[in-house]
């Protein structure tokens, strides 16, 4: 199957590859997928006290579409508030990257990763508030 130019561009020059300190209370980490299924995505966000995502990083084990989906997701996340970030849908990713039907699950994984990173951040904040 031929890839869209946008998928190729992201896969060849992935944005925001890297790791944030997952112990940092301002960082939320989402780790989704499974090695046995052939795809694992880790997406991390660093959030300001004002609830704005100031940094996002990812690492992905998966096909080109999965790499591109997560790379795109990190681009979209930066500068958004958490509430805005939550509105990102996998269908937005599909549309932007021109993903064919068999690759839709790669975009679903990216949406899951975003949700899971936000969740993790909120849980951390809640437990901090509870503690102190």
């Amino acid at each position: 199957m031929a890839y869209s130019d946008k998928v190729i561009e992201h896969a060849e020059n992935p944005r925001n590859v890297g790791t944030l300190d997952k112990e940092d209370p301002s960082v939320g980490t989402g780790l989704v997928g499974a090695p046995a299924c052939g795809d694992v995505m880790r997406l991390q966000i660093k959030v300001t006290d004002g609830g704005v995502i100031e940094d996002a990083k990812f690492k992905t084990f998966g096909c080109g579409s999965a790499i591109a989906s997560s790379s795109l997701a990190t681009e979209w996340l930066k500068g958004r508030t958490l509430d805005e970030a939550e509105t990102i849908k996998n269908t937005d990713i599909v549309a932007e990257l021109n993903l064919p039907p068999v690759k839709i699950h790669c975009s679903v994984l990216a949406e899951d990763a975003i949700k899971s990173a936000i969740d993790d951040y909120r849980k951390k904040q809640a437990s901090r508030r509870a503690q102190g």
Binding site: T19, A34, P35, M41, K59
Partner: protein, 410 residues
């Protein structure tokens, strides 16, 4: 010489037509276009003669006793169908049990599944972790109902070369017919239907530098005389075993491809094997955690042109995209419509995780040393890059046992 991109390293999938083959075929498109079954004029005779000559060329390559033992088909999928269904139907009063392996091509496995629906029993033998079937397992599976054993000469994914001679001998002792899907092994490893006791064999032109859409089924005529029921009815071509106007042009090319191989295959194997080993060496020397799938390179039980490796922590399709100037294939689920990883790797017991990271390289007649070096260096570079992008590689380097994590299967 400057390297031409893209580079083709998927010779298990298909091969380009050799220029010598093409040249032989060309007149049969235009001036010599006759129907080989036309008995009343020169055009027909010319076609018939050309087909007869090709039949000899094919027979010689596999050491068949007589050219009439070659039945031309549309390719090996049809040959496999004809062999299994044809034997099952013809010998239905004699028995109803077939033995095969879990790593056969789908044209054998799916034919077996259909026969099971029709009431036959099929034993699918396991293979060892390198992909080889055990002769003892074949022996133990034979019952008084067994009519046919079908084992491939060499596997298309991991290159495992099966003990065909030994299985052939066993089948002779037990009076069971023996079919071999010889597609991948022809011209790359010894194959001799007489010396190996093979009763039926499937081959196809497009894997041996001939055209697509033409192949043959070898059907032994003596000791024993093998009978099959036709699966395509019609004008009674190919001594009633396969009706349909012969693809004369294709058959001429197929014959020529066989002739070239008969003359050159031993030398060709030496060249390809050296290149395959060079590719493997360069990859293994420069990367850690690369695992070979299939028999050891120097075991004598692996196709000389096959290299199948898993690059741990790097998903196969992602890697193929990164090396998109090189045509290879992968056992990863992401490349398949079903999103299932390769059933062959699964049969070998390859970890599912590692199956997703597998790449198959297939070298061939036109592979050059420059291409091998280019591909090796490109792969090494891209695997390193993708590992930097892999959360699994990072975790492994931190000493986290990936298997200990509770992954949400999806």
């Amino acid at each position: 010489m400057a390297l031409k991109l893209p580079i083709y390293m998927d010779y298990h999938a298909t091969t380009p037509v050799d220029p010598r083959v093409l040249e032989t075929m060309i007149p049969y498109f235009t001036e010599k276009f006759g129907n080989a079954a036309s008995r009343s004029h020169r055009f027909g005779w010319e076609g018939e003669e050309a087909v007869g000559y090709a039949r000899e060329q094919v027979a010689t390559l596999i050491n068949a006793e007589k050219p009439e033992e070659i039945v031309f088909t549309s390719g090996a999928s049809e040959s496999n169908n004809l062999a299994l269904k044809g034997v099952a139907e013809f010998y239905k009063d004699k028995g109803s049990h077939i033995i095969t392996t879990k790593v056969e091509h789908k044209a054998v496995l799916d034919t077996c599944k259909r026969l099971e629906k029709q009431g036959l029993t099929v034993t699918y033998l396991d293979v060892d972790k390198t992909g080889l079937v055990s002769v003892d397992d074949v022996r133990n599976a034979i019952t008084d109902k067994t009519i046919l054993v079908s084992v491939m000469l060499a596997n298309n994914e991991v290159g495992a070369v099966q003990p065909i001679g030994e299985i052939g001998k066993l089948c002779k002792e037990r009076g069971v017919l023996f079919h071999v899907d010889a597609v991948q092994g022809i011209g790359k490893t010894e194959f001799d239907v007489r010396a190996m006791g093979v009763d039926l064999a499937s081959i196809t032109a497009h894997k041996i530098y001939g055209p697509k859409g033409v192949g043959a089924l070898y059907v032994r005529r003596s000791k024993p005389r093998v009978r099959i029921s036709a699966q395509v009815d019609g004008g009674g071509h190919e001594r009633g075993m396969r009706s349909g106007t012969l693809n004369v042009t294709g058959i001429v090319g197929f014959g020529k491809a066989c002739e070239v191989l008969t003359q050159t295959w031993r030398d060709e194997v030496r060249k390809i094997e050296a290149q395959r080993n060079r590719l493997a060496e360069r990859i293994f020397k420069n990367l850690d955690e690369v695992y070979l799938n299939g028999p050891a390179l120097d075991s004598g039980k692996r196709l000389p042109n096959n290299l199948n490796v898993s690059f741990a922590y790097v998903e196969g399709e992602g890697l193929m995209m990164a090396i998109k100037d090189v045509a290879v294939s992968s056992g990863s689920a992401c490349t398949s419509a079903s999103l299932e990883p390769s059933y062959v790797l699964r049969a070998l017991g390859v970890d599912e995780e590692l199956a997703h990271t597998s790449i198959r390289f297939g070298l061939g007649r036109f592979t050059t040393d420059e291409e091998v070096d280019f591909v090796a260096d490109l792969v090494v570079g891209k695997v390193k890059k993708l590992r930097d992008l892999s959360p699994l590689y990072e975790m492994a380097k931190e000493g986290i046992d990936i298997k200990s994590i509770q992954w949400a299967a999806h």
